[in-house]
């Protein structure tokens, strides 16, 4: 009897070990591998209005950049400003080397004086010529009378007549001489004025009030005509040249509000708005371009060329069924969602509309509010997959 009990006890112990082991095995066989149900999380489709937004990156640029340089090739004599200086309209920023221009202006001043003296000389000569003409005239008239009285010979009268003509011609020549001297004076005066203008053109002047952004050449540098020595930007005109991926640029237009995050300011966002959308897009990068201006210019100004992230808010769309983009799957050639009904899982092709940056997508056709769709799944789903609805997937923090 005692032996029987002990046998029974041993049997129980053995069963006590083996049964849980068997149970564990069955559990393992059913809960792992292909037989295991796929844990999924579900969400109820809600009717929501979504406010789509566009995201692009751009660089800070100045709308107006003034490149100031000489109009003729030459050497830079001085540059009066440094990068970062604020300048006023008309301020002298630098000067080109005049080389011999000053000497030529001096030479022309002397030439002008000489021309003036020439005019005086010509005027005096004209006086002299006029006196000679008057004398020859009276002589000639007197001899004419004497000839009428036959007190002189015809030859003597002829000689006086000729003298008068010579005096007349001499007078005319002197007058012409005076005109020429006067014109010469005018010419040299104009020439000097021109050179003085050219001299003034060697000064590099600021066309507007602004900020010096580039000092491209230092004194002594030779620059060609048109090459910039100093660049001035208008700080009030700083804006952002934003690039939007063309796939996601629908609805971009002037006047929309925007949030700008310059790279240096990281999490700090500045308000702005779209000033214009460029009519020409970038064909190589496949991006649409737009200019975004700040509502209030930040102080200090972000450097020109700095990268900025721009989020443009689009007007809110009408209320429609909305799902998260993680719900949207592709099965074969169709895009759709997995709809959970009671105990069954069915793939429903849908037509999608607009989406926002938080990943919410409008469903135009195929889904009604209140239906339950799969959001996340542990594995790819197939028709007829066993599934289990859970709050959050194993291994993922809720």
């Amino acid at each position: 009897m005692r032996k029987f009990l002990s046998t029974k006890g041993r049997s129980l112990a053995l069963i006590g070990v083996l049964l849980p082991l068997l149970g564990l095995f069955v559990y393992v066989a059913l809960r792992s591998g292909p037989l295991a149900p796929v844990p999924v999380t579900v969400a109820t489709v809600a009717e929501q209005a979504i406010a789509p937004a566009l995201f692009g990156i751009g660089t800070v640029e100045a709308r107006y950049t003034y490149k100031i340089g000489p109009t003729i090739a030459g050497r830079v004599k001085s540059v009066a400003v440094q990068v970062g200086d604020h300048v006023q309209a008309g301020q002298v920023l630098g000067e080109m080397d005049p080389v011999d221009l000053d000497d030529r202006i001096g030479a022309l001043a002397a030439a002008q004086m000489r021309a003036r003296a020439n005019v005086l000389a010509a005027e005096a000569q004209l006086e002299d010529g006029a006196a000679r003409r008057r004398y020859a005239e009276t002589q000639a008239q007197r001899y004419e009378k004497l000839l009428e009285a036959r007190s002189i010979s015809v030859e003597a009268a002829e000689a006086k007549r000729q003298e008068r003509q010579i005096a007349e011609a001499g007078y005319q020549a002197m007058r012409a001489n005076l005109d020429a001297a006067r014109q010469e004076l005018l010419r040299s005066r104009a020439e000097r004025a021109g050179l003085i203008r050219q001299r003034a053109n060697l000064d590099l002047l600021a066309p507007v009030a602004g900020l010096v952004s580039v000092r491209a050449a230092d004194p002594g540098t030779t620059v060609v005509a048109g090459q910039a020595v100093v660049e001035v930007i208008d700080p009030a005109s700083v804006w952002i040249n934003v690039r939007f991926d063309q796939l996601r640029a629908a609805g971009l237009k002037a006047g929309l509000t925007a949030q700008v995050v310059p790279r240096s300011l990281a999490e700090q966002s500045l308000a702005g708005r779209v000033s214009r959308v460029e009519p020409v897009a970038d064909a190589v990068t496949e991006e649409s371009l737009a200019k975004v201006v700040f509502d209030v210019l930040p102080e200090p100004l972000p450097p020109v060329g700095e990268l900025a992230e721009v989020t443009v808010a689009l007007p809110a769309l009408p209320v429609r069924p909305v799902v998260g983009n993680a719900s949207v799957r592709r099965l074969g050639n169709q895009i759709g969602v997995w709809v959970v009904t009671a105990d069954a899982l069915a793939f429903r092709p849908v037509k999608l509309g607009a989406s926002d940056l938080d990943g919410r997508v409008q469903v135009l056709e195929g889904l009604k509010a209140g239906e339950r769709v799969v959001v996340y799944s542990q594995r790819a789903l197939a028709a007829g997959s066993r599934f289990k609805v859970v709050d959050s997937l194993p291994g993922v923090a809720p």
């Binding site: 083996l18 095995f25 796939l247 992230e309 799957r329 050639n333 989406s355």
Partner: protein, 401 residues
Amino acid sequence: MISLAGRDILHAWGKFVFTGIGLGLLIGVTLTMAGVYRGMVDDARVLLDNSGADLWVVQQDTLGPYAESSSLYDDTWRRILGMDGVARAANITYLTMQVRRVAGQDPRDVRAMVVGVVPGGPGEPGQPGYLVAGRQITRGHYEAVADMASGFALGDRIRIRRNEYRVVGLSRRMVSSGGDPMVFIPLKDAQEAQFFKDNDAIVRQRARTAANPALNRPEVLQAVLASQSVNPFVNAVLVQIKPGFDPEAVAEPIRRWQRLTVYTRAQMEEILVAKLIATSARQIGMFLVILAIVSAAIVAFIIYTLTLGKIREIAVLKLIGTRNRTIAAMILQQALGLGLIGFVVGKVAATFWAPIFPKYVLLEPGDAARGFAAVMVICVLASVLAIRAALEVDPAEAIGG
């Protein structure tokens, strides 16, 4: 009729069960090793599955994009889209690198495969097919979907080369052929990460260019510098074909007219499994074979010694006239029982410790079935040896010595 084997097991059930569990742990190791091997192969396959592609278009005469490097101009996909039978085509870049978490509780870096995808609609080739948390990428820059295996969490900020990215979604089983977790980022950022040099290199390149008198002229220099910092390359174009088309029939015209190399799914699998992971898989395979042989030997010896330990009892049985068949059945049943316990313990153990492995361990039911059959066969063979020893025992030993 009472079971002789059952009575014997009950007689020393503790010894029997613990031997079985020890055996089971050994079988568990063997099953796990098979799982490691299957996991390696599965990593390679899952890479192909996840890319969602039917065809891979790569640089001419390369085994890209996984086994060799390959680079194509990023407008190649348009030409491919025009080919007959092509439903969808998408650019993709792959770059294996260390990805560093910059904001989060513990900054650490993870070896990951950074995948540049066109942030298009769901189901486009290259996109993660399903997520376990968060959402898909919506912005064209600076967002990332990371694989769970990377250890990153939603909202973490990670650094890939020049830029920081915010983790907005988590995927599962999105790994490279080496088992590294994937991190999906927008294509333009990925191109920059892969082809754009670091700042020092750019500055030196500028200096080198400026030092060249032929290039250092006003206006010319700027244009040359600008052209040096473009990166219009991708690693491959993934192609999905229209239903009803034969992949090879779509691939051939692309090879012929676009002068590019195209791989079909079967060819790609051949490249990955037979070329890329061939040696490491063979290494594991070799180890698996040795482990299986050693396990078989140990199982056989255990059963043999277990029987030899009972040799006195068997002699008594023979003395009282028990038939040889009964004794043989007892030994065989015990051996099979031991094998069964061992297999169950092994399977359970392998299933529980498999997820702890850093790389994927795939326990296939087929392997388990094969393992079960092998264990049973080994047990039978081992018990044959033991039965021989038992039947040869002299009944006189029961009373002698």
